[in-house]
């Protein structure tokens, strides 16, 4: 049921040409260089260590690997991460 609604929403958004991050609560990631990352529409932190950061998303989670990772800002919808980022990976 949930899955079907999601697909419908996605089809609607595509049909109406609306951005997914606004309509579907999809994460929006902005990476500046190798040291800064901004993430919108997150659902909290699952795990935080200096070399690995896992962030919950509306579907699945995001895994960031790197060194000296630090959460610069943390707000209900938005967060900023700094540190040397090696990889960004979506995990279901």
């Amino acid at each position: 049921m949930e899955r079907r609604r999601e697909l419908l929403n996605k089809a609607m958004a595509e049909f109406l040409e609306l951005p997914g991050d606004l309509v579907l609560d999809l994460p929006k990631i902005t990476v500046v260089g190798r040291n800064e990352l901004y993430l919108e529409n997150h659902r909290g932190i699952i795990e935080y260590a200096l070399n690995r950061l896992r962030i919950n998303l509306s579907r699945g989670f995001l895994e960031i690997e790197g060194e000296e990772l630090q959460i610069k800002t943390l707000m209900p919808e938005e967060m900023g991460i700094s540190g040397e980022i090696h990889s960004i990976r979506f995990v279901d």
Partner: protein, 407 residues
């Protein structure tokens, strides 16, 4: 995004969160709207920053879930007060220092006088002090323009006074009046300025009393200002009845005369002089309340000759007076100079010439010059006399005394 400046204003608390899985607390804080930033994992927990307004809520969350929360650092305006209170002495001191500096700067500490030529500096300073401008005078006790006005009134020799105050220094700038030369307007004689033999007399007004070749002494009347009417050879003796009353005039004229000057100089064949060798030694003693403390001791080596100089200074303090004695010895050495006769003669001549110029002054019309050796050949000293003959104007105006005792 939160404003960093506003955060500083509201106060920021840096905390250290400890416990298993601190991410849980972060998520809880996030869901309750507590703004957290600068999260960093450390060896024993997690450091993060939170606004002082959200700190209490975060603390509650931690308590509910059995996590420990420790304040690491407090930043921002509200915590400056604590800093201020902790260093109260320092701040009070700083304020007192600035206040004292400001207070001291509102006094005059130095006075300088410029522009004076004839009027004594001390007189100007004394007069300024009388009207309130003296070292140590508070600036608010006098008005510059009033002091300037009062000084102008009291020192009639001054044409202009300006008091310029720069910081703690008062610069008194003055301009002196230039008075016209005193001219004798009444009747006067022309008298001899010095002893001389008259060479030439030119009378412009008055009656000549001397003629060429006469030796005159200082002060003798050369041209008289008292003129007796002369009989007119072309007039018949009609007005003989009229009284022969002398008239007084301002005598004018030029009297050229020969004047002699003499200069003397001598030089010993052997001279002994005491010169400072440069070696010296000094001693400083303090006398406080009847006790004498030696600050520096003298280390006199065998001086054959020396000058001893003693200085005493008294310093008055609120706790009593302190006397400082300074003694200084300077070694002297005898220096013997030997001159040959020619050398001594030229030295003596030089001295004589110098002596002569002092008496005579410069720019004189010299017509004759003579040199005379006064000492005999066997003497140990050479004495020289220089004589000079000049021709100059010896006329000097002198008012005629017309008083009860005058002539």
């Amino acid at each position: 995004m939160s404003n960093r400046f506003l955060n500083q204003l509201a106060g920021i608390i840096k905390v250290n969160l400890r416990g298993e899985r601190p991410e849980k607390i972060i998520n809880l804080a996030l869901s309750r709207g507590i703004h957290i930033w600068d999260i960093k994992k450390t060896i024993d927990g997690m450091d993060m920053k939170v606004k002082s307004s959200g700190f209490e809520a975060l603390e509650n969350i931690c308590e509910e879930n059995n996590y420990s929360l420790e304040v690491v650092k407090q930043e921002g305006v509200p915590f400056l007060k604590a800093l201020f209170v902790r260093r109260l002495g320092f701040w009070v001191g700083a304020v007192i220092f600035i206040a004292a500096l400001y207070f001291m700067a509102s006094f005059i500490w130095f006075i300088d006088v410029s522009g004076n030529q004839k009027v004594d500096k001390s007189r100007i300073i004394m007069m300024a002090a009388k009207y309130g401008v003296y070292p140590g005078a508070p600036r608010w006790t006098f008005s510059r323009s009033e002091v300037e006005g009062a000084m102008l009134r009291d020192l009639s020799e001054l044409a202009y006074v300006k008091i310029d105050i720069k910081g703690v220094k008062a610069n008194i700038e003055v301009v002196e009046k230039i008075f016209p030369r005193e001219e004798i307007s009444g009747p006067c004689h022309i008298v001899a300025a010095k002893e001389a033999v008259v060479e030439e007399v030119l009378v412009l007004a008055g009656e000549a009393q001397v003629e060429a070749g006469k030796a005159v002494s200082k002060g003798e009347i050369l041209i008289s200002g008292v003129v007796y009417p002369q009989k007119n050879p072309f007039m018949e003796e009609v007005e003989e009845v009229a009284e022969e009353k002398p008239s007084l005039v301002r005598a004018r004229g030029r009297v050229k005369a020969r004047v002699w000057y003499q200069g003397y100089g001598e030089c010993r064949l052997r001279t002994e002089k005491m010169l400072l060798s440069g070696k010296e030694s000094s001693e400083i003693k303090l006398e406080i309340g009847g006790k004498t403390i030696s600050i520096k001791k003298a280390k006199i080596k065998d001086y054959d000759f020396s000058i001893c100089e003693m200085k005493e200074k008294k310093i008055k303090t609120p706790l009593g007076s302190v006397r400082v004695y300074k003694t200084r010895w300077q070694e002297q050495r005898k220096k013997v100079t030997l001159y040959s006769e020619e050398e001594a003669l030229s030295k003596a001549q030089e001295k004589a010439k110098k002596n002569l110029l002092e008496k005579m002054g410069k720019d004189k019309n010299i017509i004759d010059q003579r040199k005379r050796l006064l000492s005999s050949p066997s003497d140990l000293i050479i004495r020289v006399q220089l004589s000079v003959e000049t021709i100059e104007d010896i006329a000097r105006a002198e008012p005629i005394n017309i008083g009860p005792n005058g002539n």
